[in-house]
């Protein structure tokens, strides 16, 4: 059994002009200790997927279909207080801007101790000792002296380390990290990603890592899900998806990224743009931009199917599957 199992997840926003379906039949799982990378253009549905899992969809957004299972038990239909207990203890969260997670009015030590004590039975003294240990683990120099400092006294990179300590200190089974390094400098990004990866490995924590930076995914994730217009276009082992993408959209996406190691005159380009939620094309949502489009793509919507070692939502792989 997987640690997290998302089945046919659909998220909708009722609006005056009708219901917007922002996620439409998203299915994937995360194994214990695994890092799943989630990539895609802005608006593809990455953050909503994370928010739905931790029960933080902003109303009027709601889970309109499908199920989310943690360790085999449903968590998508829990009352708010039960979900709050799961958040933090079982599932930790790291967001792009550390300042949205940290309370500016409390010292970081107090925030850590509170989180630790909410989820683990520890005395004040033991909780504080553990908080110091976490600050050391995330690489805050002179942790013992700095534990009573306030968030604004830290640099952006240091704050994101504190946020990681905060997300991990209750020892959750799963961490959802939504663009955790996007706001940071390049040299700091690498430090933070390595830290997250190592801590997750040490503690056997699973990570859902949302980012638009394919380089980060390539180096960190075990598997990757590529999202497009509210659905998963392709999911598979990181090497496969990056080096031999199966879905025409993933292929275009990988080709559009300039490389550090070799130079091309012209980047591969996918013309056009991802459709808005109000104008998702019939059939395969990618069909107006796809070089390989054929008749079936314009009428029938593909679900994920076997595509080599990955799974892709693309009719190119239907024939291949027919005779196995």
């Amino acid at each position: 059994m997987s640690l997290l199992d998302v089945q046919d997840l659909t998220v909708e926003f009722p609006t005056r002009r009708g219901v917007l379906r922002a996620l439409d039949g998203v299915s994937f799982s995360i194994e214990a200790g695994e890092v799943l990378g989630v990539v895609g253009e802005s608006g593809a549905g990455k953050s909503l997927t994370g928010a739905a899992i931790i029960g933080l969809l902003e109303p009027p957004g709601r889970v309109a279909g499908g199920r989310i299972l943690l360790d085999g038990a449903r968590i998508d239909d829990l009352p708010a207080d039960r979900m709050r207990a799961i958040r933090g203890k079982q599932i930790g969260a790291i967001f792009q801007d550390p300042l949205t997670t940290l309370n500016p009015l409390y010292s970081i030590g107090r925030q850590l101790v509170e989180t630790i004590q909410t989820h683990l039975r520890l005395s004040d003294r033991d909780a504080r000792a553990r908080a110091v240990k976490w600050l050391e683990d995330v690489g805050i120099p002179a942790a013992r002296e700095r534990i009573d400092a306030y968030p604004h006294e830290f640099s952006g990179g240091m704050r994101q380390r504190v946020v990681i300590a905060l997300a991990l200190c209750a020892e959750p089974r799963l961490v959802i990290a939504d663009e955790p390094t996007t706001a940071l400098d390049v040299s700091i990004q690498a430090q933070i990603i390595a830290l997250l990866k190592n801590l997750a490995r040490e503690h056997g924590t699973s990570v859902m890592l949302v980012t638009h930076d394919m380089g980060v995914i390539a180096e960190t994730a075990d598997r990757v899900a590529v999202m497009y217009a509210g659905r998963i276009a392709e999911i598979g082992p990181v090497r496969e998806v990056v080096k031999h993408p199966a879905h025409p959209y993933s292929e275009g996406l990988m080709g559009s990224i300039p490389s550090l190691t070799h130079r091309v005159e012209r980047l591969r380009q996918i013309d056009g743009a991802m459709p808005r939620l109000t104008a998702i094309p019939q059939g395969c949502a990618f069909n107006p931009r796809c070089e390989k489009v054929f008749d079936r793509c314009r009428v029938e919507r593909p679900d994920l199917m076997e595509a080599g070692r990955s799974r892709a939502a693309c009719w190119l792989y239907a024939a291949e599957n027919a005779h196995v």
Binding site: E41, S42, A190, A218, P258, L260, R268, Q269
Partner: protein, 333 residues
């Protein structure tokens, strides 16, 4: 100087300070002196016509300040900037020269006036410089510009909010091109865009450069983007250009310890499953830069000289590097 001069923009020893002192009364009460932040420190470069000089560096290293200096939005505190051989301030006071330089910004949302139709946004420089007079001519030119950047002439009727981020950046480019410039300063023009949209814009910028013979000062924090665009490349750290040379040479054979660190630190698509040791430390505050070489607190090669003496630029082949270790020949390892 004539229009055919080989160097379009030349900066020599340019420094820009910002006054970051506290208010006068507070300062007097605690007996504090005025404080200056050295955002750009002794920067020199020349950009030959039709080529791209790219600057790369981490947040706060002075890239945007150089961009603003290069189009005259800021004046240098010391040093000299010349546009086609003329002092930039003098060039800026002549409309005929001013129209030949323009700037594209990072944020395609903030840089377009939301209440104007796209055609008026694009036509504004044409009107300001009185390049065309009849409404029909202006309309035709705007249509041509929009088509040139991959939009449709009919898009001129719409407002900016009706466009995606990538389309808005195309509008910014059309606007920047409308005064028929030959020099464009592009400050992180694709940093707010998704990679697939970034590819469209970078391809467009290269095409336009070839077609129109444009000269670019191209600024980005993204090394791979810079590699794609640069003829020459300058790496900035705390206001200084620490290494500059032909782009391919700097990438293939980085010499400055900071350039090496950056190239090692950056996650890359080709690095699937490769373990690496990330570099330690952060960029120090530019208000209180370390003495000597500003990189010394993070540098593995730092020695006593580095801690007191600022390294001068030395030439190694086609590359200029500001590093004692390189100059002393102890950087190879």
């Amino acid at each position: 100087m004539s229009e055919t001069s080989a160097v379009v923009l030349e900066a020599t020893g340019v420094t820009r300070l910002f006054d970051v002192s506290r208010p006068w009364l507070q300062r007097v009460l605690v007996g504090e002196k005025r404080r200056h932040l050295r955002a750009v420190d002794d920067v020199s470069f020349a950009i030959p016509r039709g080529t791209t000089l790219a600057l790369v560096g981490e947040s706060g290293c002075g890239k945007s300040t150089v961009a603003r200096l290069a189009v005259g939005l800021y004046g240098p505190s010391s040093g000299d900037i010349r546009f086609e051989g003329q002092a930039l301030s003098a060039a800026r006071s002549q409309a005929a020269l001013r129209r030949r330089m323009n700037m594209i910004f990072q944020d395609p949302y903030a840089s377009l006036n939301p209440r104007w139709r796209v055609r008026d946004i694009v036509a504004e420089p044409i009107r300001a410089f009185r390049l065309l007079s009849s409404a029909a001519e202006i309309d035709a030119r705007v249509g041509e510009l929009l088509t040139q950047v991959g939009l449709a002439a009919a898009d001129g009727e719409k407002y900016p909010h009706e466009f995606s981020g990538g389309q808005r950046q195309r509008i910014s480019i059309a606007r920047a091109l409308s005064s028929e410039p030959d020099f464009l300063v592009c400050d992180e023009p694709t940093s707010a865009l998704d990679v697939s949209v970034q590819a469209q814009i970078l391809n467009l910028m290269k095409e336009l450069q070839q077609r129109l013979g444009l000269t670019y000062l191209f600024i980005s924090h993204n090394l791979a983007v810079v590699r794609h665009m640069a003829d020459r490349l300058g790496v900035m750290y705390l206001g200084r250009i620490v290494e500059m040379g032909p782009g391919e040479e700097v990438f293939r054979n980085p010499r400055h310890p900071y350039t090496r660190m950056l190239l090692e630190a950056i996650p890359d698509l080709d690095m699937v499953g490769v373990a690496r040791t990330p570099v330690g430390g952060e960029v120090p505050s530019p208000i209180n830069p370390p003495p000597g070489c500003p990189f010394h607190p993070r540098c593995k090669l730092a020695n006593d000289r580095c801690r007191v003496e600022k390294p001068a630029h030395v030439r190694v082949g086609e590359v200029e590097v500001a590093c004692h270790a390189v100059q002393e020949g102890r950087a190879e390892a």
